[in-house]
Amino acid sequence: MVDRPEVALDELYREVVMDHHRHPRGRTPLARVDARAHGFNPVCGDEVLLSVALDDERIAGVQVQGRGCAICTASGSIMAEMLPGRTVSEAETTSEAFRGVMHGTPAPADVDLGDLEALEGVQKFAVRVKCAMLPWVTLRDAIRAWRNGGTEATSTTEQEVG
């Protein structure tokens, strides 16, 4: 009988993650919405409704709604806290770096992942990577829709390589 190595739960649910899970940021409605996307994880049924306010290329505010597990909620909360003030392309760079970390590639030295680093342990729990990525997949589609002149998009984590 082959046992999997002991996996510490605390790797997954670090203190920072639990704090964002218990007190999620970015729940307040925005005064103005310039891009919106509805993300869905068909594996578990979790949903994220993401609204973004933009001043030209700069993100002014992020609202995250929906229902998700602790990992998904924390990931969305961290996003809502860190993105305001960054440009859309900076947000995309952050998103790509985070995706890399989730798939085992360390973030480039010039990218500051902030609290997202606390989600690093998720990569060891393969099925949970999609939970962490759901808000970010949704953000990518919101940005894409906004660039194409629309405001609404629908995304699923199935576009995310597991």
Partner: protein, 417 residues
């Protein structure tokens, strides 16, 4: 706590457990507590031995060769069919089509019998169906302009029989329902529904994925026209499932896949079909897994499905009492163990099912968390997901106790207790 019945007499889950090699393993340093039997069951050594024996002694293609191995392989494959017919008391073995799984069996009915439907004809389903008994009909509706109707469920998670009666009409051509919900555990009154369906001239297709492994099922008294189920949920191998049907209906159906084995005569531009059930079995089938499945049926027949049902009914009764006794869980489905099979779906309002399942996994407890391939039912229950514990012959009260301890540990871990 309400009344807890004593364990079923003569049924020894501990002894049964020793027949399943995988149940010896540890998960994260803990004894495995396997409570995901509605997804798939574990396999006894007898099934593993039969698989090995097939490939070690009799492997050949079926129905074509005259050599000894081909004859043996064909005999084993066909004896699976005969054993399945006997297990569910089907009128004839030729009414048993061997497919990959329940999903494929339902798709066969939807595509082949469904091809006889016209625009405006109706198919009656329910809100508690698994995606495998929803999506094949959605495909049919898109192709043929068929109208889909859905029986609602009551607050207790049972089929609304008044709604069913009002939705049945002369336009209803097919009624397709689960015999036992994979989320709520609800056991539906199929025999009663069969009479009502036949009274309006419809056929009844039953999703038996959860019922056939856990309840005594007699195809003849059930009254269904089609019954679909999978070997892997009844201690057999993956990759083998069955469509049991009235032979006279199969005779009237066109094949949905063409190829070897399903033909009688082929010219360059036309072909005639083999007899049933072979005309629905194009190409080389999953011979080895079919050959191994009777070893699982031997075990279930020795235990007796009434004994299996009594054991699981008492276990689910105990689980319902203990889970509801915790006080903080929402438990879905009927509360009377006589009206439900051996599974329980529940939600901790403060811990997402995924997080709950993650904590339980670190304790070696395997439960399912998610939408259980029943997204419309999740919407009806107004939840994104549930956690589900589902029982098999080798589970006992200790497993339920471990689950309950795990749920308490999860609350502590998330700072809720």
């Amino acid at each position: 706590m309400t009344s807890i019945a004593p364990p079923a007499v003569g049924f020894d889950p501990r002894a049964l457990r020793r027949r399943f090699p995988i149940l010896d393993r540890k998960v994260h340093g803990h004894n495995l507590v396997y409570l995901d039997n509605a997804a798939t069951t574990q396999k006894p050594a007898a099934v593993l031995d039969a698989l090995r024996s097939y490939y070690s002694t009799s492997n050949a293609n079926v129905h074509r060769g005259v050599h000894t191995l081909a004859e043996e392989a064909t005999g084993l494959y066909e004896s699976c069919r005969a054993r399945v017919a006997r297990f569910v008391n089907a009128p004839e073995a030729r009414g048993v089509v061997i497919v990959r799984n329940t999903t494929e069996a339902i798709n066969l009915v939807a595509r082949s019998w469904g091809a006889t439907l016209s625009p405006g004809d109706e198919v009656l389903l329910s809100e508690m169906e698994h995606h495998s008994n929803l999506v094949p009909w959605i495909l049919l509706a898109r192709e043929r302009g068929v109208v889909l109707r859905h029986v609602s469920i009551t607050a207790d998670g049972e089929l609304d029989m008044a709604a069913l009666a009002s939705l049945l009409s002369r336009r209803t051509r097919i009624v397709a329902l689960t015999a036992m919900s994979n989320v709520l555990g609800t056991i539906n009154p199929i025999a009663e529904i069969a009479d009502a369906a036949h009274a309006v001239g419809a056929v009844l297709a039953v999703d038996g994925a959860q019922s056939v492994p856990h309840l005594p099922v007699d195809f003849r008294t059930l009254g269904a026209d089609f019954l679909a189920f999978s070997a892997h949920k009844m201690y057999g191998p993956t990759g083998v499932g069955f469509l049991v049907a009235k032979p006279e209906l199969l005779e009237r159906m066109e094949p949905i896949a063409g190829g070897g084995e399903m033909i009688r005569e082929v010219r360059l531009d036309w072909a005639t079909w083999n007899d049933i059930p072979h005309k629905f079995e194009a190409g080389t089938p999953n011979i080895a897994d079919a050959a191994a499945f009777p070893a699982a049926l031997d075990m279930l027949e020795d235990l007796g499905m009434s004994g299996v049902r009594a054991h699981e009914r008492q276990l689910v009764g105990y689980a319902l009492d203990r889970l509801r006794g915790l006080g903080w869980l929402t438990v879905h489905g009927p509360l009377d163990p006589h009206r439900r099979g051996g599974l329980v779906s529940f939600v901790d309002p403060e811990i997402h099912p995924h997080d709950l399942a993650q904590v339980l996994d670190t304790l070696g407890i395997a439960v399912r968390a998610g939408h259980h391939c029943a997204q419309p039912l999740m919407r009806r229950l107004d939840v994104a997901a549930t956690a589900r514990a589902s029982f098999g012959i080798y589970n006992d009260r200790d497993d339920v106790d471990a689950l309950v301890d795990g749920l308490i540990a999860a609350r502590k871990y998330f700072g809720l207790a």
